[in-house]
């Protein structure tokens, strides 16, 4: 069973719909006991880092998350909170992955913030999460803050700067884009995650 964490910071409905489409059993919860029974965990997330961390702390999931050994997938803000720190309201995050989340600077190559729409993910290194997915496949993004290039990088995207759009550290995976909104390629990635051992 896949446990989807509900912490008032995500469009959970889309993730649920995507898993239904794949025919994968899942449940939604913010309870540690319940979530401990999950064989894999998804942390969705839309919104803002400080409130997301506050919400995780309020249900005592912040420490608990770091101790998990089952495959874990953070999506969008759910990936950003895996890092050490976010400059969004100067927020200390979970620290599973080293690095600081930054705000996009508007430039001629990236004139609009948020970075919104379909962009390519260039694969960096081998990872089961992207099994059967070509490098430079398109995924749907919507975010104003980004992860810098770090050791855990498995996919990069360019928007004014080259940033980490997918990361992998031990059992923790994170993607900045929304696989649940990225058509067939996104479903493929979720299927890969579901099939991880």
């Amino acid at each position: 069973m896949i446990g989807i964490i509900d912490y008032d910071a995500g469009n959970i409905r889309s993730v649920v719909n995507a898993l239904n489409r794949l025919g994968v059993p899942h449940f939604v919860s913010n309870d540690r006991k319940e979530l401990s029974k999950a064989s894999k965990i998804i942390l969705p997330g839309v919104g803002e880092a400080r409130s997301a961390m506050d919400s995780l702390r309020a249900v005592k999931l912040d420490q608990w998350l770091k101790e998990q050994t089952v495959p874990f997938l953070g999506i969008c803000l759910g990936m950003q909170v895996l890092f050490d720190h976010s400059t969004e309201r100067d927020t200390p995050c979970l620290g599973v992955i080293g690095g600081t989340i930054q705000l996009f600077q508007r430039t001629s190559a990236a004139p609009k913030v948020p970075h919104m729409g379909w962009n390519t993910v260039t694969l960096a290194g081998k990872t089961p999460l992207f099994n059967g997915i070509r490098s430079d496949e398109y995924f749907y993004f919507v975010h104003s803050y980004y992860a810098p290039l770090v050791r855990a990088v498995i996919g990069t995207t360019e928007y004014g700067t080259i940033f980490t759009s997918a990361a992998h550290q031990d059992n923790f995976y994170g993607v900045q884009f929304h696989p649940e909104k990225s058509g067939e390629a996104g479903l493929h990635l979720l299927k890969n995650f579901v099939e991880l051992c």
């Binding site: 719909n17 239904n20 379909w118 649940e180 990225s182 058509g183 996104g186």
Partner: protein
């Protein structure tokens, strides 16, 4: 590289897709869920659904349709039409929409943009603006384009972004339904002052029009309805054409 988005728009009345000319004269264009699935398969990047039902019953049907759309497709979609409270927004996003489009309600009470943005985040708040040429500029109209507001389009667009809109959907009422091309002057002027993505709407008739909205008007996305509903233009063919014209698209 970030691609330009192609966005089919579905006007929905009592559960059916309709399309009018200059905001009037509605014609039936099919089941919205079927159309949504077709567009998603053909490579649409995003969808917009506008509820133009006037009755309570029609609104319930619309929310039910939003749920079915969310189950049927895996691309982002926006819903709008008659959204005037934070509860309306919660219902729409709860049914599975990714963004809401706000129009008359925020013209009546601009503070509603701040409230919406604070509650669900700027990325989920689209300010829809219906404009008509007026002298050397553009005027904002409200209530589905039936009443002038006296507001200047460029200053209202800036205010909407300042208040927390994450995206603008700008419809030229002069061009809507005419198939004579987007108002690229309007788009270009907006692109110079607006820091969030702009979706061009109103006037698409042939592929050159969509190219020009992006290449000349610097729009981030182009929205169209009838050319897609009636298959005047196929999305894949359009994207190939845009790519040949050096516009980045997802293919």
């Amino acid at each position: 590289m970030l691609t330009k988005r192609i966005i089919p728009c579905l006007d929905v009345k009592n559960g059916r897709t309709v399309k009018g000319t200059n905001f009037l004269d509605l014609r039936d264009a099919g089941d919205p869920v079927e159309l949504a699935a077709r567009y998603s398969d053909e490579g649409a990047d995003e969808l917009v659904f506008l509820d133009i039902s006037a009755t309570l019953e029609g609104r319930k049907t619309f929310l039910n349709m939003v749920e079915r759309v969310a189950e049927a497709i895996q691309i982002p979609f926006t819903v709008g039409g008659g959204i005037s409270t934070v509860e309306d927004i919660s219902r729409a996003l709860g049914a599975g929409a990714d963004k809401v489009s706000l129009n008359s309600a925020v013209l009546a009470r601009p503070q509603f943009i701040d409230e919406a943005s604070k509650q669900v985040g700027a990325q989920a708040v689209v300010a829809a603006i219906d404009v008509k040429r007026s002298g050397s500029g553009w005027a904002v109209w409200t209530k589905a384009g039936t009443e002038p507001t006296g507001l200047d389009a460029l200053s209202w667009a800036s205010e909407a972004v300042r208040r927390g809109a994450g995206e603008l959907l700008v419809t030229s009422m002069d061009r809507d339904g005419t198939t004579s091309g987007y108002d690229t002057d309007l788009l270009l002027q907006l692109s110079e002052i607006i820091s969030v993505p702009v979706i061009a709407s109103g006037g698409a008739g042939k592929m050159e029009h969509l190219r020009d909205a992006i290449a000349v008007g610097r729009a981030d996305a182009v929205l169209a309805a009838s050319i897609f509903h009636y298959k005047t233009i196929e999305i894949r063919e359009l994207k190939q054409y845009l790519r040949l014209n050096n516009i980045p698209v997802r293919l």
